[in-house]
Amino acid sequence: MKKLFSAEKMSTHCHWVGVIDWRLRNFHGYLTGRGSTYNAYLVKGEGGYVLIDTVKAGFEDEFMSRIETVCDPREIRVVVSNHAEMDHTGALPQLLNRFSPDCRILASRNGAKAIQAHFSLDREIEVIKSGQTAEILGKEFVFLETPMIHWPDSMLTYFVEDKILFSNDAFGMHLASVERWYDEFDSALAYEEALRYYANIITPYSQIVAKFLDKFDSLALDIDAIAPDHGLCWRGEGVEFILGHYKRWASVEKRRSRKVAVVFDTMWESTELMARHIAQGVRSEGVACVVLPVQESHRTQIATELLETGAVALGSPTLNAGLLPTVADALCYVQGLKFTPKFGLAFGSYGWGEVSVKLLNESLGAMGAECLPSVSCQYVPTDAVLLQCREAGARLAAKIKEEIAL
């Protein structure tokens, strides 16, 4: 095989040997507009190498090519699998026979089960002990189980000597780049992708993240770098940067800002007109507002905007005594992610049965939002209805100013 791709040295004993998926745009429904990487790392031990995670199936050649610029793959004597999801394990079954014949595989208890459920490997997977220091090929590692950040099997691996935390999907982002470090890249773009990743993958587990971060602080690990399994790695000030943002995102109170998201779809532009006047009402109170027509805004973008918004105005006309399916789709996604806007406002037009606002209020209520009086109109909004919309938007904004700190 031609050695087309190279590894990148990350620290004294560690190389990045991941792969770059420039063309990825759909990660199980998550719109990955800037592609992604599947990061894996080689740690040089005594008499061999430890491989931290692998890559998605289909990228074996690039992966092996990078490994071969560091060592003979048969020198890989241990694979640590931090996360069983197939973008990090998919290449393992095919490549295992190219590593050392006695190559060990280490994973969390749930990871061992999940890997076997996926691949039925013909060797035993050794279960790590969480929170304890283990010596592997003469190097010290600490494994930390992090169940439901974001799968039951998820764990982190800390490499003591080089002070690197291999964090699997935590602190990651979907971003394809030739750069490996956050400080080498456009910081605003990197922040946006880290935020998008949190919003679309981690949000439902925020309570667990918050508790983990407290525990993590108490461990007081000396960390020079955090190396996730997707996107850029964090070092220097970047470490505090991403940890700080995770602390904020993990807290519903801290992440809520004085911002309204107006999310809607429309049949004959009546609900759209209502949405626009609600946005104008929000603006009249000097509060930030983002307008998201659902057919034109991918659900990934809607979720990203909702992470930090304090209130949601949700609009749908009534179709067949129900919601427009596009709005129901967006709701299904954001409810699954357990977003909890503090305030909600339902609005929409109808032809005969006035159903949509009732359903929208139920959904907003189920998300834990305090619902303000909704605005509904038959067929086409009159000027009086549009005035009601502006007033409703202004009320929503005023509530936000009262209840959400700057």
Partner: protein, 53 residues
Amino acid sequence: MKYLCTVCAYVYDPSEGDPDGGIEPGTAFEDIPDDWLCPVCGVGKDMFEPIED
């Protein structure tokens, strides 16, 4: 009373307990040790909520 794991929707049923996790059938949720973890997703007891039978 049964308890629902709010993360993964596993239901703890006291009549069944969680024998693999060392919880005998007949153990009330309140009597489960605090370090017990959801047998499906691994989160702690505090992520559970009581549900009607």
